[in-house]
């Protein structure tokens, strides 16, 4: 209802123009992704085409070619100290690396995801056992064990990589298990169960589909690890030294570094290119999965986007004379407010389209509308709390005689602390879970008083908002109190500076009706006591009827109708308001038609 309203409106809009782009298409549409795919594919192709491209056998020593410099006929990259063709050896090494990567990450993914799926989905005791086993596996020093086990593995790099895959599988296991636990509680998995789907089908169709992205990403990183470990072990001399691979190549070149330093370059270069391409590809895939992000068009960047700007000079406004006359009587006056967000294609989408509203001192004004109508956007733009991409403009935005337009952050912050206050929709997510209620309240008060005074004031406030044991609540953490209590705490914090204007964004939507009634009572009492103006953003007409003096009805970013609360309810003039009012479920009519099958009373 608050910030997602932008997302919701695009949902509806997207229904007309379905655009489906696969993850791979999205990867290669970014320069980073395209670049890494090209590099990786070319390296793999070089390996595959080895028999065609190589000039000599990678292990054939030619005495006449010892330490041949690059460019020697027949030895494109030169030859090493044993007279073996470096180019052929590079091609052979590519194949070894690719196979190492496939085996290492393949084994890790297979073991980790199978057991992760089982562990996360079935849970309970099996989860405990599997989690313990994989934790144990994690504690083994993989590299040392691979070395120690060489007599058993026979020293071929394939078996060493399979072993390595087993040792790094806990990484995948934990990833998959935790993702599955998250997905398992999604409602669509429950719905699938109720639909009578078997576990296997639910796992393969609903669960695996969601977790595949992260698995692929970490598989890319594990592939680089496998390549590195394989080369590292070979460099140290483990495994058969006969085959050409990047490890033995760097090892040989290292011994020869004073005579032919260039020999070290070739294996290192290919090794680095391969690993970098894999890591960057993983990153590109992650970005592609995260979905497209809205980028503000360049030319708009020169204006600090979230800052307010005056669109027209005040004098140009036809009603400016009346405005300034009535402005003195108005606590808040807003004229021609516009809020827009960048679209993906660089155009802007206007979510508030020139709304004008005013609030008199001590007046409660309800701003009603459905999701995506721009009501929260209007409230947030008055608070100056819209995200950076938002572009806000207005002819007039005055609060208690001060203009909120083009204010620097400091003054706006001071206004927010003293003149204007805010009550959010979700009380729980607006309290920091790691600090006590007391410390959060005192923090807000400390600006204007000593610590001791602040504590006393906070306790008095908590008592004022109807909390029965203020001392205890003061010391509690947010998770120890109920949602209704949390909302009371937030109200206490909001009214502490005795604001002139209180903006409440769906303050009771997340609460039970009995709690809602109490919170509305509290708001009414506090408003009477402090004489503040209130802008109440809500979709609930019952709340409006309970609290508001005046109502503004909003739709698609425009205020379609405004007026006294009784007028709006009894004689709405705008068709949209009429539709809204008629959608309110009438209390007088209860369902009277009998059940179809003709069963009457059942009690």
């Amino acid at each position: 209802m608050t910030t997602p309203s932008i997302g919701q409106t695009t949902d509806v809009g997207a229904a007309n123009a379905p655009k489906r782009i696969g993850a791979f298409r999205r990867i290669i549409s970014t320069p980073l992704g395209l670049f890494s795919v090209i590099i990786l594919l070319s390296i793999v192709m070089l390996g595959i085409l080895e028999p065609v491209l190589r000039g000599h056998d990678p292990n054939t020593a030619e005495l006449s070619a010892i330490n041949a410099p690059p460019g020697t006929p027949g030895y494109f990259l030169g030859a090493d100290q044993n007279g073996r063709d470096i180019w052929s050896r590079v091609l052979a090494s590519i194949n070894v690396s690719v196979i190492s990567a496939l085996i290492g990450s393949g084994v890790a993914v297979a073991i980790g995801s199978i057991f992760g799926l089982i562990s996360g989905y079935i849970g309970k005791r099996l989860d405990g056992v599997l989690a313990w086993l994989f934790s144990l596996l994690m504690t083994f020093p993989a590299m040392i064990l691979i070395m120690v086990l060489q007599p058993i593995t026979g020293g071929t790099y394939q078996t060493m990589m399979a072993l390595f895959g087993i040792f790094i599988s806990p990484g995948i296991f934990w990833l998959v298990r935790n993702l599955v636990i998250g997905v398992k509680n999604e409602l669509y998995v429950d719905a699938a169960k109720v639909s009578g789907l078997s576990n296997r089908r639910i796992l393969s169709r609903h669960v695996l589909y969601v977790v595949r992205g992260p698995i692929i990403i970490s598989a890319a990183f594990m592939a680089t690890a496998a390549i590195g470990i394989q080369a590292g072990l070979a460099f140290l001399g483990f495994g058969s030294g006969q085959d050409a691979n990047f490890g033995t190549m760097t090892g040989d070149a290292f011994l020869n570094i004073y005579r032919a330093p260039l020999q070290l370059l070739w294996p290192s270069l290919f090794l680095a290119l391969m690993n970098a391409a894999l890591v960057l590809l993983g990153n590109a895939y992650r970005d592609a999965l995260a979905g497209p992000q809205a980028v503000a068009p360049r030319q708009k960047k020169k204006q600090s986007a979230a800052k307010l700007e005056v669109t027209k000079p005040l004098e140009a406004h036809p009603q400016s004379a009346e405005v300034s006359a009535s402005a003195r009587a108005e606590l808040l006056s807003v004229r021609n407010l516009r809020v827009s967000y960048p679209n993906l294609d660089g155009t802007r989408k206007e979510v508030v389209k020139g709304t004008s509203l005013f609030i008199r001192p001590g007046e409660i004004v309800g701003l009603v509308g459905e999701s995506g109508s721009g009501k929260s956007q209007t409230a947030f733009s008055i608070l100056g709390l819209l995200p950076k991409q938002a572009e806000v403009s207005a002819d007039v935005m005055n609060l208690a005689g001060d203009s909120l337009l083009q204010q620097d952050g400091k003054l706006l912050r001071r206004m927010r602390g003293s003149v204007i206050s805010y009550i959010p929709q979700e009380p729980m997510s607006n309290l920091d879970p790691s600090f006590t209620i007391g410390s959060q309240l005192v923090e807000g008060l400390r600006a204007s008083m000593s610590k001791k005074e602040a504590k006393e004031t906070a306790l008095a406030l908590l008592a004022r908002v109807g909390i029965t044991d203020p001392e205890r609540t003061f010391k509690s953490y947010p998770h120890q109190i109920s949602g209704g209590m949390a909302q009371r705490v937030l109200i206490a914090g909001a009214v502490a500076p005795r604001p002139k204007l209180l903006i409440a964004d769906e303050p009771t939507t997340a609460l039970d009706v009995t709690v809602q009634a109490e919170i509305l009572d509290l708001l009414r009492d506090l408003q009477g006591e402090l004489g503040m103006g209130v802008l109440l953003v809500t979709h609930n007409f019952g709340v409006v009827a309970d609290l508001c003096d005046r109502v503004l009805v909003m739709r698609d970013g425009e205020i379609v109708e405004g007026g006294h609360v009784r007028t709006i309810f009894r004689n709405p003039s705008h068709p949209y308001t009429q539709e809204l009012i008629s959608s309110i479920l009438d209390e007088a009519t209860v369902r009277t038609d009998p059940e179809l099958v003709g069963v009457k009373e059942h009690k």
Binding site: Q8, D11, V12, A14, A15, P18, R20, L187, Y188, D190, A191, A192, K193, V194, S195, G196, L197, S198, N199, R205, H206, Y209, V210, E370, S371, G483, D512, V513, T514, V515, Q516, A517, L520, D521, F541, G542, V544, A545, D546, V565, R566, F569, E579, I581, S583, I584, L585, E587, T589, V590, R591, T592, P594, E595, L596, V597, V599, E601, H602, K603
Partner: protein
């Protein structure tokens, strides 16, 4: 006539956190029955156990004692295989239309899945998708789209279509309109009522909103801290509630009329005042 669903003395507790910690009891002996083609509204506040009761009926939560009987058969501890058969008779519509549809599947897949799971040929299942979409008032070309391309109300229509796919006799509706806008809410409720008249399906309609439940229910059951405090015909429960809690609940829900709301507010204050003095 036998009731379609009969819940008797149902108790349910979730295992506590940690070793040998006390298990909080969510349902404390709930008895309720639903006749074929009837809507029973289950009203209560958060934490009252109303959703848990629905989940127990659906087999998503295991009761500790008591019994659930569907059409004469005890389904309290139905095996997975029996549950799969029961899917034909008992279905669900969840509250949140954004998470109850798998974002990665096309609408056609979502709707045909229950049919395929019951052994229908994929081609036949696909064919019935259009009819289902038509039933809930969505255009046929919705089939090839993804859930994210629909608004909240449209998604809820898809969820209802999925529930209807197997022509069940009971649908558990867990707050199906709470996440929707006012105008959409009214339309979805009308759709549910129309579908009931057409198909004779019974609803267990779980909600916290009295005005919604008044609109759709034949009978209302009020739940408070794991117990049913009152059950009766809709008009009786909402107009002359017997239990004190129901009275509080009725008076706390604001009505969309400034003057009547004022009266209600004062009545509520009187009630809470008399409650605190006695």
């Amino acid at each position: 006539m036998n009731p379609l669903l009969q819940v008797s003395k149902l108790r349910l507790s979730y295992p506590g956190r940690g070793f040998r910690s006390a298990a909080p009891e969510v349902l404390r002996g709930v008895s309720l029955d639903i006749a074929p083609g009837e809507t029973v509204g289950l009203v209560g506040e958060s934490g009252s156990g109303k959703t848990t009761l629905g989940r127990a009926v659906l087999g998503l939560a295991a009761p500790t004692s008591g019994s659930i009987t569907f059409d004469g058969n005890d389904i309290t501890a139905a095996s997975q295989r029996e549950r799969r058969k029961l899917a034909r008779d008992i279905q669900v519509v969840f509250q949140d239309p954004y998470t109850s549809l798998n974002p990665a599947l096309q609408i056609a897949d979502i709707l045909s899945e229950p049919l395929i799971a019951q052994g229908q040929k994929p081609a036949d299942a696909r064919r019935s998708v259009t009819a289902l979409l038509d039933k809930v008032g969505l255009p046929a070309d919705s089939a090839a789209r993804y859930p994210r391309e629909f608004s909240g109300g449209q998604r809820q229509r898809i969820a209802i279509a999925r529930a209807l796919a197997l022509q069940p006799r009971l649908i558990v509706c867990d707050e199906p309109v709470s996440a929707l806008d006012l105008t959409t809410q009214a339309r979805i409720l009308d759709l549910l009522i129309d579908l009931q008249r057409e198909t004779g399906v019974a609803y267990l309609f779980i909600t916290h909103d009295l005005s919604v439940v008044r609109h759709i229910s034949h009978r209302i059951a009020v739940m408070f801290r794991g117990e049913l405090v009152e059950t009766g015909p809709t008009a009786q429960v909402t107009e002359e509630p017997e239990s004190n809690y129901t009275r509080r609940l009725v008076l706390a829900s604001p009505t969309a009329d400034p003057d009547r709301q004022r009266q209600r507010r004062e009545a509520r204050r009187m009630l809470s005042h008399s409650a605190s003095t006695t």
